[in-house]
Each structure stands twice: as structure tokens, then as C-alpha cells.
């Protein structure tokens, strides 16, 4: 790879890693703080992406909008819509065992996917929405534009991280941990367990929606293919568990490392003979699936176990 190719690869790698880091921290707020199993991350991500796309893209005759609004409006809108969806899911099954939440969230992701494909008046169906802007793109062009966007993404990561850390060390975070570790005793000291859980699920959903918006801006074009539920949902779970659930640093590190591993397996499988190359993506899935099992059985606490941090 020549230098500029490598440079673009690296920038795009870090940009995607940043987007995954936002989702991973968001999942940490749900799972790591609250013990809430969200198996429908792709749904929240997709609804955020489409909200931002519709709000910020240039006017189109093929679907509602685009409204050509500022990117910040798109981000807020994405967070709001995804948060609303999270509220609905939480309302239904927050009082039940985590498994039910997992089923319902998979269902919600499926409904979102169906709606995106079928409601073409809103989403332009399987063709997707194009002409999604990036911040400051009329000032910077070419190579510097990529770098500017990378900085923008990582500023968002930083913001997400700081908010999550703030939450973690706030009284709210302490209550959440108490609930997660012993629901009964938390309830007995007068904490409304369901209320706190609902909050943690909504906050997580908001950031997943924002991450969706960020990736819509990154791709500048968003279609149902980009919300492949497996890739988004599954990879993020592997990231969080490998990094260390309950710990935002772990979530961040997990996102970077797993995304690096994932991207490297792509480089590796490209070297395979052509008859295998076509199946390489399945081989990668197989490997990441096995990797998750390994982590679950041997390194459950992740790279950055929560405990060590809790003592301070």
C-alpha cells in the first residue's frame, strides 16, 4: 500500500473505531451499569442514522425531507428518537428477567429494519438516503477533510466518554451498580429499581442513536445494508465484554482492539485463494464467534476489570 492509501486506511479505520467506541460506551451504560441486555443495538443505531440523514441531507423528491438542517440538530434528533424507542422497549420489559429484554430488543430491531425497507416515502427504501453532509465540509477538502471528520468523531467519543464517566461516579451510577449487583437490597433501601433501569436503558439508546447519526455522516449515504444487525450488535457485544463491562475505559479499549482485530482479519482473509476469499467474511464471523466464547469462559472480567476501579 502506498503512503496515501495507508493514510486513508488508517483514518477511516480510526473513524469507524470511534463510532464503535460511542456504541460500546452506550452499551456499557445499559449492560455494564444496569445489567440490561440489549440485543437490538442495530435498531437504535439505524433509527438514529436515518433520523440524522433525513434531518440533515439535501432536499430530495424521493423521500421526506431532507431538511438540510445543521448537523447538530440531526445529532440531537437522532438521540431523541432513539431514546424514545428505548423508552418504549424499557417500558415493556424492564421489570422482567434480562432474557425478555433481549427478545424484545431483537424484535424492535427487526421492526425498525422492516420499517426502513418498507416505508420508502420516509427512507427511500432499499436505495437509501444520499447527500448526507459532514461538518465543515465546505471549508476543508480532500485529505484534510478526512482528518477533520476524524477529529470530529473523536470529540464525540470524548464527550460520550466524559458523560458516561460522570454518570458512573455520580450518585446515580452508584445506585445503578447497587441495583445491578443486588436488586433486592437496592429495592429495600427505597430505590425505585425500574425507574433507574429505564433511565439507564434510555441513556444508552440515545448514544446508540447518536452513533448511528455519526456513521450516516461518515458514509454520507445510508441504506438498510449498513444496519446489518449481526455486524453492529454482535461486534459491539464482543467489544464490551472483551474490554471489561462496567468500565468505560474498558469499553473504549475494547472497541479499539476488537475493531483492529476485525479489520486485521479482513486483511488476512484477503490473502486467501480466490475460491476461499468469497467466503472470507464467514470465516471472520466464525473466528469472532469463537473469540467471544473464549472471552466469556476465560477472561470474563475483560481487559479492564470493573473491580479495580471501584475501589477508588
Amino acid at each position: 500500500m502506498e503512503m496515501s492509501g495507508l493514510f486513508f486506511y488508517l483514518v477511516s479505520f480510526l473513524t469507524m473505531a470511534g463510532i464503535y467506541a460511542v456504541i460500546c460506551i452506550a452499551l456499557n451504560i445499559q449492560w455494564g451499569f444496569g445489567g440490561l441486555f440489549n440485543a437490538g443495538i442495530a435498531g437504535f443505531y439505524a433509527i438514529g442514522a436515518y433520523t440524522a440523514a433525513i434531518l440533515t441531507s439535501a432536499n430530495s423528491t424521493r423521500h421526506v425531507g431532507g431538511f438540510d438542517l445543521p448537523i447538530i440538530v440531526g445529532l440531537i434528533g437522532a438521540g431523541l428518537v432513539a431514546g424514545l424507542l428505548g423508552w418504549v422497549v424499557a417500558k415493556i420489559c424492564i421489570r422482567l428477567k434480562a432474557d425478555y429484554l433481549a427478545m424484545a430488543s431483537i424484535g424492535i430491531a427487526e421492526i425498525v429494519r422492516l420499517a426502513i425497507i418498507n416505508e420508502s416515502w420516509l427512507t427511500n427504501g432499499s436505495i437509501g438516503i444520499s447527500r448526507i453532509p459532514r461538518p465543515l465540509e465546505d471549508i476543508f477538502t480532500g485529505r484534510s477533510a478526512e482528518v477533520v471528520f476524524l477529529i470530529f468523531i473523536w470529540l464525540m467519543v470524548l464527550l460520550t466518554y466524559l458523560i458516561a464517566e460522570r454518570l458512573r461516579f455520580s450518585p446515580w451510577g452508584r445506585v445503578m451498580r447497587a441495583i445491578r449487583d443486588n436488586e433486592d437490597s437496592a429495592a429495600s433501601i427505597g430505590k425505585d429499581v425500574q425507574y433507574f433501569r429505564t433511565q439507564s436503558f434510555i441513556i444508552g439508546a440515545i448514544f446508540m442513536g447518536i452513533a448511528g447519526a455519526l456513521s450516516a455522516h461518515f458514509f454520507k449515504y445510508f441504506s438498510p445494508d449498513a444496519t446489518e444487525p449481526l455486524l453492529v450488535t454482535f461486534l459491539v457485544w464482543v467489544m464490551l465484554i472483551a474490554g471489561g463491562s462496567g468500565n468505560n475505559k474498558g469499553a473504549l479499549a475494547g472497541a479499539l482492539i476488537i475493531w483492529a482485530l476485525w479489520s486485521m482479519t479482513e486483511l488476512l482473509t484477503q490473502q486467501l485463494p480466490p475460491e476461499w476469499a468469497s467466503r472470507s467474511s464467514y470465516l471472520r464471523m466464525l473466528l469472532i464467534g469463537l473469540f467471544l466464547q473464549l472471552v466469556l469462559q476465560k477472561f470474563r472480567t475483560g481487559l479492564f476489570p470493573e473491580k479495580a476501579l471501584n475501589r477508588d
Binding site: 431483537i106 424484535g107 427487526e110
Partner: protein, 295 residues
Amino acid sequence: MIDFINYYLIPGVTLGSIYALGAVGISMIFGILRFAHFAHGDLMTVGAYAALTTVWVTGLPALATIPVAIAVTCIVALLMDKWFYKPLRALPTIYTVIASFGVAMLLRSSIQLIWGTDSQVYFTGFQKPMIFFDTLRIASRHIQFIVFTVLIAFALHYFLNKTRTGKSMRAVADDPELASICGLKTETVIRATWIIGAALTAIAGIFVGLDTDVHTNLGWNLLLPMFAAALLGGIGKPMGAMVGGLIIGIAEEICTYPIFGESLIEPSYKSAVAFVLMVIILIFRPQGLFKGRLL
């Protein structure tokens, strides 16, 4: 009216039979091992592909390959339990849920590696539907599915109520701690659970393959309605899951029936019906119709 029966009710019952067979395993695994098994759909896909290879090798009709498909699926199920679920047994069950999510991925990508991603069929050609009373049209394969499912339902009922293993399974589903206090070996019961769950889902997989085609997302796509069926019937109630499967299958088809000239929902949203029913159950009757366990 006859159109309703031909094009909505009978396909609904057929689809319901498939859901029913898959949901039995989900309900029992949830009841006995206490976790929602997200790889159950992909286990179904394993059964469908095992039958496919057997059909290719032997030239037998697909239904005749059921024993092979069951054997393969059972072995896969027991191995995945041994390798991926058993090591997590002592932990909170949510870890097993995560593991099953990963196993779903493992099974699917293995199938994609071995068989490729093109859709396949067990046989080519068109089956003429059988016509009764001049107007009632049923595809002969649908008759086979329904008859098979009814027979399985009877056999399952007998097994659960009359045999020692069956009663032990119900006891563990009721209260695993008490069951082990009573000296029942949980691991034996768990093995039986996997074998029955895998066998029935393998049969369902062949039915799906016969009805449409065999593809790598075959089982995963049916996971949601199967979960809904298991919840509707009540967790840990296999017979309830069968009834639940039937209800979900019929509901999905009927919702697209043009009652007043317009169908209740767009056919493209058919798979949302199961989800809506699931949500209604979770809100109003989370223990299911047949008083299953609320975990």
C-alpha cells in the same frame, strides 16, 4: 370464505406447525436451563442442511432423511452445550444468553462456510395441490407437515406425562433446586432437553426447506416468532409452546387477510405480527396462556 381457508388458514396452520416444533425447544430450554436460547433458530438451519446433504447423497425424499437430520442436530446441540454453555452454568444465566448469541453466529458462519450462501431446494418441480370437495386446496406437503406435527404433539404429551424422564424434566422446569434435593440429576435432564429440542427443531427446519427453500438465514428469521410462541404458551410448558406456535402462525397469515377489502396489515409487515403479540403477552400476561414460569 373458501379462499380464506385455502390461502390464509391452511398456510397459517402450516406455518404454525413449524413455529410449534421450534418453540418447544425454546420453551423447555428456558424452563429448565433458565436462559433464552438465541441459537435455536440456527440449530434449525443445521437440521435443514443436514437433510439437504443426505438428500444429495442418497437421493431419498427429504422427509425420509429426518432421522439423519435429527441425529446431526442432536450431536451439534449436545456439543455446543458441552463446549459453550456448560462452562457458564454456575454464572448468572445472562452470560449463557450472550454465549448463545455467539453460538448462533458460529453455527451460521459454519453453515455458510460449508454449504455456501446460495438458496438450495430439496427437490425441483411443482407439486400440484390436492383438492377436496371441489374447492378445498391443500398442498400434499402441508398435509404431511400437519399430520407429522399432530403425531409429535401426541408423542410429546405422552413422553412428558408418562415417562420418568419426562416427569423429571417437568420437575426441573418447576423448581431446579428442589429437583436436585429430590435427587434428580440435572445434567441428565439437561441432555434430554437438548435432544428433544434439537430433534423437533431439525424437523421444523426440513419443513421450512420443503415449503420454501433452504438458506442460511432460515432459522434465524424464525427466531422471533418462535420466542413469541414460547412466551405465549408459557415458559417451561412445551405443549403450551405448540399451541402458541399455532396461534402465532395463524395470526400472521390472518392479519394479511382482506377482511373489509383491505388487509389488517401490509403483507411485508407479516413478521411484525409475532413481535406485536409478544409485546402484548409481555405487558398483560408475562406468564403466558398456560401459566408458565415467570423468570
